[in-house]
């Protein structure tokens, strides 16, 4: 079994290695005809740009995406600079440079990857999936008796912030930086999934399709790991199935199918303000332009945030969203599960959390307010702040850096819920509802706690669960996503996630029975008089 697992790990690493070198393979040859066509289609009027690209790139065989990209981007930058100085605004190229370069690179790239998409898919995705499963499935035979087995978690360099974790960290951060900011470097990766994209929506794959597909694959493989690890725990089995279903069907398939029917790309479960650009002008315009269906999406999106989300939180706690439905939560609960113990439990980090997450919520709400004000009044700035600037800032800092690069890239170092705990504005909103008006709590079972600390250690949200449990107090915390792992790892059956009553006393009070000492509070009051 151990040998099988070692072979599996080797295959996975080979798959990852091949995936990593793919961007360096192949060449980019922009022919004169092709370039004319692009200039025509894009309506490019800058003669400087055209001359520059013709000189540097057209008709040449460029053997890596970096030179190709930098040629185009330099051409855009230098020509734009001159045109802006000369107030030749119609000649300025307003496209995001790397997206502009991506579209062309994707079109003119060539080489073994583009010619053998299936083969390379197998050598990357295929080997990765097979290798990972060969590592995961033998656990069933190595640990044949179901139960919590966190053996060696803190002794293993991949899960105790050891050297493997740091490698994983660099790899993940690198991946996210490329994905968000340098799509033109990774066109080879997108070729791998072209056939799949074409079969669903009819279009070639964008970097976002690649990401969506990879996300589903990773979640599925790691969900199998969850199924094996928690096979004795039905709550975990159902929850894992639920996040997997919502990711594959709602976040991946439905939006792609919508596109194939020329409807707007929309993820029906992605609620504002997590879906921060829902009220951006271009989106609202898109939806309105799409007629009845677009309007339906607009109304649904508003209802989802204002009615569905808080009402469900009232009855079930924010877990219904964060650990049963959400895509970010879904990845955290599958790929992120091996890292949940790395969250910081200190009081200091709780303080930081409260400032940060509510700060992001305020940022999102203010940005949306300004955007909507601008939308209805036609102004392009409010109080001297350009809507475009604030949107770009949010998109860059929160949407890309925080949610992506830090949110997932930092899994191996800071745990799997960095984004959900410190950054997600929707989680902040749900948390306020959960804290003040919800039936949900984690019930502490009388005096049975032995303060061992498994619950706190494995709380991905960094809640010091033990601090409550050892007092016999129920846990009512805005950040709790109800993953149920504290209850699963408790060796003494102390914790239970429940939707009981929203009565403040039953949720919060510290019962005296914990003592076993039958103290009557009223008698004590009398005595003290």
């Amino acid at each position: 079994m151990k040998t099988l697992q070692n072979i599996g790990i080797s295959l996975l690493l080979i798959g990852l290695a091949i995936f990593t070198i793919l961007p360096f393979i192949g060449s980019y040859n922009l022919s004169a005809e092709k370039f004319d066509e692009i200039v025509q289609n894009k309506g490019i009027k800058s003669e400087l740009f055209i001359a520059d690209v013709k000189n540097s790139t057209v008709g040449k065989e460029i053997t890596n995406p970096f030179t190709f990209s930098s040629n185009l981007i330099n051409a855009i930058a230098t020509s734009n600079e001159t045109h802006k100085q000369n107030n030749e605004w119609d000649k300025v190229i307003w496209d995001k440079p790397h997206s502009f370069s991506y579209a062309i690179a994707k079109d003119v790239g060539s080489g073994p990857v583009r010619e053998n998409k299936g083969l390379f898919w197998f050598l990357t995705f295929g080997l990765g999936i097979i290798g990972a499963l060969m590592f995961i499935i033998p656990e069933l035979y190595r640990k044949p008796i179901p139960g919590i087995k966190n053996n060696g978690v803190w002794l293993n360099p991949s899960t105790n912030r050891g050297w493997i974790a740091w490698f994983a960290f660099i790899f993940l951060v690198g991946f996210y930086v490329l994905l968000y900011f340098f799509p033109d470097y990774i066109v080879n990766w997108t070729y791998l999934v072209d056939p799949i994209s074409e079969s669903i929506s009819g279009n070639a794959a964008s970097q976002w399709f690649l990401y969506g597909f990879l996300y589903c694959v990773v979640m599925t493989v790691m969900a199998i790991r969850m199924y094996i690890k928690y096979r004795h725990n039905k709550y975990q089995m159902l929850r894992t199935t639920s996040v997997l279903f919502f990711q594959i069907v709602f976040a991946f398939l439905i939006p792609e199918i919508l596109v194939s029917f020329e409807k707007p790309w929309y993820d029906f479960k992605n609620a504002f303000p997590l879906d921060y650009d829902f009220f951006f002008q271009w989106n609202i315009n898109d939806l309105i332009a799409n007629g009845g269906f677009g309007l339906f999406i607009l109304v649904w999106g508003i209802l989802l945030t204002i009615v569905v989300v808080p009402v469900m939180v009232y009855f079930f706690g924010k877990r219904w969203y964060c650990s049963w439905v959400c895509g970010c939560g879904g990845l955290a609960e599958t790929l992120g599960d091996p890292y949940r113990q790395l969250s910081d439990k200190s009081l200091r980090s709780w303080k930081v959390e409260r400032w940060l997450i509510h700060g992001v919520l305020v940022f999102a709400v203010v940005m949306t307010g300004i955007t909507l004000y601008a939308f209805f009044t036609g102004a392009d700035a409010v109080l001297g702040i350009k809507t475009q600037t604030i949107q770009d800032t949010y998109g860059f800092l929160i949407g890309s850096i925080f949610a992506g690069v830090i949110g997932t890239g930092f899994y191996p170092i800071f745990g799997n819920r960095v984004w959900c705990r410190f950054g997600c504005p929707l989680a902040a909103y749900l948390g306020i509802v959960q804290r003040f008006k919800s039936k949900f709590r984690i019930t502490t079972n009388g005096g049975q706690c032995i303060s061992c600390g498994n619950c706190s250690t494995y709380c991905e949200q960094g809640i010091d669960v033990r601090a409550y449990a050892q007092k016999g107090q129920n846990i009512v915390r805005s950040s709790c996503v109800g993953c149920g792992i504290c209850s699963a790892v408790c060796p003494r059956g102390v914790l239970k996630l429940e939707n009981g009553s929203d009565d403040g006393a039953t949720r919060h009070e510290i019962p005296e029975v914990i003592l076993g000492n039958d103290v009557n509070l009223f008698d004590m009051l009398e005595e003290n008089k």
Partner: protein
């Protein structure tokens, strides 16, 4: 300002300190020779198993003590001078106290076995034992086999620990079935089966003859008394129970039995000296409890009770209904009220036992033969609500009432398969009753607490 000195930073001493601080402004000092900060002893096993780091076993962050003005002193008290209200440390230092709380816990039992002090022989109780185990049994290359002597809760935990590093374990148990001094036969048999299922070499009804050394004074093997069999091993774990850690008081004026003798107010024979937790021994057992209770929960209760007494609300140690819990490898165990094993079972105590046909899930309910009064429940593989049983015991409910409302007591995670129906059906069949299981009611559940 009155100076309260607590010897021992375990759950009893720390609970006392925390509650004294809550209730008063007295000066508090906690002394420990073991560790700088309080940690959960019950969690030591998880450090070796890699579930947690040692720091995770500390329930309070390090700043907590200073912020709450609880002074921590590392040192070993060698003498208590009650006349001058003074402690003498092994280092020669002294410390004055106004009130002294002895909360020194337990130490592992050794029964004078030949070889019991060899290198590689250890208990599993102190932080130092953990370090020792890490030294002698870091993996299955260094430690080819470990032998555990004594079939109690610590023994099975030590077996689980060693097993987590794939170290073969031989487990010597004096009783004819695991922990059958406490557990009824059916439950004990199920745990035997579970231990063997984990490939632990369980030897029932055997005693240790001696531990043999190699030429370097290290453990080489052990001999079983009954069979004379020699088992080669690298590590021997002695887990044959614990006894009060009170040797340092032998020459003091404090009355000792096996532990420090205390009355219901937890006072010793000497004014202003108290004892709580594992090291305290009641003059008269409370109810069906033992005079020495070496349990996490009772230590906590005594700490809280004594804090009240010291802060002007004198109170008897009144531990309410018995409860306890443990985990046997993968099987969780909880108990509420009294369920006796074969040994010491009162004649009036009748048992109802239900076991899942395939899984390691079972319960035993004890009730009075004639009056049908509910006496207690053992649960294995099912979690039950402490508040529910505490209330039912106080209200002196009948076994029928308990079964009728059993669904209210279930504490398993959501979506788990519930067994109450089959439990009640079996009881009805065996006792010719017609108990109807009531549906779970949140209203009733919230009235428990």
């Amino acid at each position: 300002m009155e100076h309260i000195v607590i010897i021992g930073n375990g759950i009893s001493g720390v609970t006392a300190a925390r509650h004294i601080r809550k209730l008063s402004d007295k000066r508090i000092t906690i002394i420990s020779a073991e560790t700088e900060y309080f940690f959960s002893r019950t969690a030591l096993m998880y450090v070796y198993m890699g579930h947690m780091k040692f720091e995770h076993t500390q329930p309070y962050e390090n700043w907590f003590w200073k912020k709450n003005r609880i002074e921590l002193k590392k040192g070993f008290v060698s003498q208590v001078k009650d006349a001058s209200k003074e402690l003498v440390f092994a280092s020669g230092e002294t410390m004055k106290y106004d009130k002294l709380i002895i909360a020194t816990g337990s130490k592992p039992n050794k029964f004078g076995w030949p070889g019991q002090d060899l290198d590689g022989v250890m208990g599993m109780y102190h932080r130092q034992d953990l370090e020792n185990l890490e030294k002698y049994a870091p993996n299955n290359k260094v430690c080819k086999r470990a032998v555990i002597v004594g079939g109690g809760l610590i023994g099975i935990e030590l077996a689980e620990m060693l097993q987590s590093r794939d170290i073969p374990v031989t487990f010597l148990v004096r009783e004819t079935s695991f922990w059958n001094g406490v557990l009824p036969a059916g439950e004990s048999a199920m745990i035997n089966e579970h231990i063997k299922e984990h490939h632990i070499d369980l030897r029932l009804g055997v005693n240790l003859q001696e531990i043999k050394a190699d030429e370097n004074g290290k453990v080489k093997s052990i001999i079983i008394k009954e069979t004379g069999e020699e088992i080669e091993c690298t590590v021997v774990g002695l887990t044959a129970g614990v006894s009060p850690n009170v040797d340092f008081l032998k020459d003091s004026n404090i009355e000792l039995g096996r532990g420090v003798k205390v009355n219901r107010k937890l006072e010793t024979n000497i004014k202003d000296i108290y004892a709580i937790g594992d090291c305290a021994e009641q003059h008269e057992p409370i109810g069906q409890r033992r005079p020495i209770e070496a349990v996490w929960y009772t230590g906590r209760m005594m700490g809280e009770t004594l804090a009240q007494t010291l802060c002007g609300n004198p109170r008897d140690y009144n531990p309410g209904h018995w409860f306890n819990s443990a985990k046997f490898l993968d099987i969780e165990y909880q108990t509420y009220g009294w369920v006796f094993g074969e040994r010491g079972r009162p004649a009036y105590e009748q048992h109802f036992h239900w076991k899942h046909p395939e899984k390691h899930i079972c319960i035993t309910i004890a009730f009075h033969k004639e009056s049908k009064l509910f006496l207690g429940i053992n649960t294995f593989g099912i979690r039950m609500r402490h508040h529910a049983f505490d209330k039912w015991l106080t209200e002196e409910r009948s076994v029928e009432y308990v079964l009728e409302h059993l669904a209210d007591a279930n504490f398993d995670p959501e979506f788990y398969k519930l067994h109450e129906k089959t439990i009640v059906a079996q009881f009805n069949q065996e006792h010719n009753t017609n108990i109807q299981l009531k549906k779970r009611s949140w209203k009733r559940i919230f009235q428990f607490s």
